[in-house]
């Protein structure tokens, strides 16, 4: 059977995250979040570990003459995790993506009516779709309603 490291297992990382979030929720540190959201965090962490390992292996190949020893290797992995964390954002959830697609349908329908002479579709439609775009930009930058703009 193909052996897999425990920290690359979705099941193990997912269970650990579920436990951690459960503890954080019970202490009131964060609000309740869904299992799919916990899974997406788990996927990011596994992605970071795999990317860090891949880079270390690559560097090891390139600089094969200078042997990287234990603590040095660990420091390299840590450094890569720090660098990669800056690029790691929570991906768009299926819930978010579906609402975005449906909002595009609403905007297109409102635009069609506006072009056909419906004043309400023009005035209120433009206002509401402008609000939608601003919310999407907030989402893009990871800003919540409590964040100062």
């Amino acid at each position: 059977m193909h052996e897999k490291k425990w920290y690359k297992s979705k099941g193990v990382v997912g269970s650990l995250l579920t436990m951690i979030t459960g503890i954080l929720v019970s202490f009131g540190a964060i609000e309740q979040i869904s299992q799919s959201e916990i899974d997406s965090v788990g996927d990011n962490i596994i992605g970071l570990i795999v990317a860090a390992e891949g880079l270390i292996a690559f560097i090891g190949r390139v600089f094969a003459k200078s042997k990287i020893k234990g603590p040095g290797k660990a420091a390299g992995v840590l450094l890569l995790i720090i660098v990669l964390t800056g690029c790691g954002k929570v991906q768009m959830s299926p819930d978010y993506a579906r609402r975005l697609e449906i909002s595009a349908v609403n905007a297109a329908e409102l635009n069609r009516r506006c072009q056909a002479g419906d004043d309400e579709a023009c005035k209120q439609g433009l206002q509401i779709t402008s609000e939608t775009l601003n919310l999407l930009v907030d989402g893009l930058h990871g800003r919540g309603p409590d964040d100062v703009k």
């Binding site: 609402r99 349908v105 919310l135 309603p145 409590d146």
Partner: protein, 104 residues
């Protein structure tokens, strides 16, 4: 049968579908068949597009207002998740650095 079909839609689309159930019933047999097929294929965008064309402008705007409220809520969750992500990795780095100190 219509209620069963509406029940298969994603939660956020059900209120509009329930409100416009009459308009769906008024569609021709072929249109209802094709709408049912869209739901069976999980082609929510096409199913909603059919529905949106039958909604009045006021309801269309109200539906989008509701989506905006949901976007706001999802943005809030997303922001918290990003914070949680950072916190977990920061803690992992701290633990790793402590281990390094012990090893060096």
């Amino acid at each position: 049968m219509l209620n069963d079909l509406i029940g298969k839609l994603p939660e956020e689309l059900q209120p509009s579908a329930k409100k416009y159930a009459g308009a769906i019933v008024d569609m021709g047999v072929e249109d209802i068949k094709s709408w049912s097929q869209m739901i069976a294929d999980q082609d929510w965008v096409s199913a909603y597009t059919t529905l949106a064309a039958r909604m009045n402008t006021e309801d269309l705007i109200e539906a989008q207002r509701e989506f905006n409220r949901e976007f706001e809520m999802l943005n809030g969750r997303n922001a918290k998740l990003i914070e949680l992500n950072k916190m977990i990795v920061t803690d992992a780095v701290k633990v790793g650095l402590s281990l390094l100190k012990v090893n060096v």
